[in-house]
């Protein structure tokens, strides 16, 4: 009797979980399936399966929208921004985690408080600044904005992790007489690799998905990032649903692939700060 009751509870639990899974995953299946249909086939039966699988939409994206260039733009912008943000964040995090100097906790509070500032409060002066520097419609503006606005949260995560570096290792380096820059390059950076990988995932997926910054700073079609291109160039063709879906699907592949490959880092990074 008891086991029969347990069984029915288990079935209800499964029914709920499966129902949510369907609502959660169907749109992704819909996106994937319909991206390889012709629009005629699609409009005859939007919810059904294609009569034949076509790659025409992906070919159209390749030839008409220069999708490789859009991918390349995004990748290049994100890599450069990541290099800049790491150069800015690592020494600062090390100082906060391991060095002692007057005003340290006050300065740290300023960095943490900066995380709460909405990006939109400083975008207008920055737009005018970039236009004076000739960087509007130039990847430089997006790279600078991405890199600098990521600094506070990167410092927050790196400080938490660098506190765990044993002081003995740093002392040993000091006794061997290595310079400060060598300490950072040979001891701190290698020991922070898990943290830096986590940051790489969070920063680059965040930037890959960012609409606001590239929408404002980049205007020419050949400089746009993938996400903003989907929202602007592809949107002009918004009657051709399958073509649009193919674009959305391609834009979604990199973050999904990163997630599947590096799940454990993502979970760790998300949990820092949320659970005491």
């Amino acid at each position: 009797m008891a086991s029969r009751r347990a069984l029915s509870v288990r079935l209800i639990v499964y029914a709920i979980l499966v129902a949510i899974a369907i609502v959660d995953f169907y749109p992704i299946v819909y996106m994937a399936v319909n991206s390889s249909r012709t629009s005629v086939d699609f409009f005859q039966n939007p919810g059904g399966l294609p009569d034949a699988w076509h790659l025409d939409n992906f070919k159209a994206l390749y030839y008409r929208f220069d999708v490789l260039r859009l991918f390349g733009n995004t990748l290049l912008d994100a890599l450069l921004a990541f290099a800049v943000t790491i150069v800015l964040s690592v020494p600062a995090s090390f100082a906060f985690a391991k060095l002692r100097f007057p005003g340290r906790s006050g300065l740290y509070m300023i960095v943490i408080a900066t995380m709460a500032i909405p990006g939109i409060t400083f975008v207008i002066p920055n737009f005018l600044l970039m236009s004076r520097l000739g960087l509007v419609d130039h990847p430089g503006s997006v790279i600078i904005i991405w890199a600098v606005t990521a600094v506070p949260s990167n410092i927050f995560l790196l400080v938490a992790l660098m506190r765990g570096i044993p002081n003995e290792v740093l002392e040993a380096g000091k006794i061997d007489g290595i310079s400060y820059v060598q300490t950072l390059a040979r001891i701190v950076m290698p020991l922070s690799v898990p943290g830096i990988v986590t940051l790489a995932i969070f920063n680059t997926t965040g930037w890959w998905n960012d609409l606001f910054t590239p929408l404002i700073f980049l205007q020419s079609d050949d400089l746009k990032t993938m996400t903003v291109a989907v929202a602007t160039i592809l949107k002009r063709f918004d009657t051709d649903y399958p073509l649009l879906l193919a674009g959305l699907f391609m834009t979604s592949i990199p973050p999904i692939a990163i997630y599947i490959a590096l799940q454990s880092y993502i979970k760790k990074g998300l949990v820092i700060g949320s659970v005491k």
Binding site: D24, F25, Y30, L99, T149, S274
Partner: protein, 290 residues
Amino acid sequence: MHFRTKESMTGYLSLLPAFAALAAIVFYPMVNTFYHSFTKWNGAESHGIGLRNYTLIFTNGELWTLLRNNAIFLLSIPGILLLSLVVSVLLFEEVRGWRFFRSLYYIPTILSSVVVGMLMKMMFAQSGVVNQLLHALGLTDGKTEWLTQVPTAFMVLIFCFYWQTLGQGALIFLSGLSSISHEIFESADLDGAGWWQRLFHITIPSLVPTIVYFTVTNAIYCFIGLFSLVYAVTQGGPGRETTPIDYMIYIKAFQTPDQLGYASALSIVLFAIALLASWMQIRLSNRFQD
């Protein structure tokens, strides 16, 4: 050089690049926005007009529509909170395949708001698959125009918000649940506590810090994170009916000529709201820490 002074110097020099960059790209422009919120500004020239931008914001009625729109998203938070909580409590029972469900639920969270928005916009289009399904089930005539009228446009936006947030919520609550010690559950079992008693007397109370964190981060998102979603789905329409504050700032600053002063003042209002929300987060998390 004295050892202490040397360490201090190293510390300040390490911070210098980060602070210089933040000063140039965040702090100075913020002060600049604050200053220009008291001016009429076209980007090249500005002249002071005192509090006129602010009085305009608070009297022209627009702010209340914008705030109402943000508030509708805020009011939808308890729903997604409850849903995430239910899902994670069910998954925590370690039904077979819970890891699979967890990963599946997380995938929408990784997608860009633009992708989510445009995908849902298609699915909720008049000829879209949602109408087709509802018609097939005999629930509607299958011709609902979801995005051109108000309560339904909000329903689509909130559905997008829920769809994006469930995975993150489940993940955060699961890690909160796994940090509850097993001994507490075991001693409750020994005392003969049933499943529901355990839920209300142990599980939920231990999750309070996580619930606070989830609620406040999403509340902040409802004020400063909706831009991409609204841009992709409704563009703030019909009229201004689904325009939140951040989208309005974008319209005033980048789509309307000579409104940079007004947009700056609106940015400062938004900043004040974000500050209030963060302050509440700190207050609440201190309070629930013990």
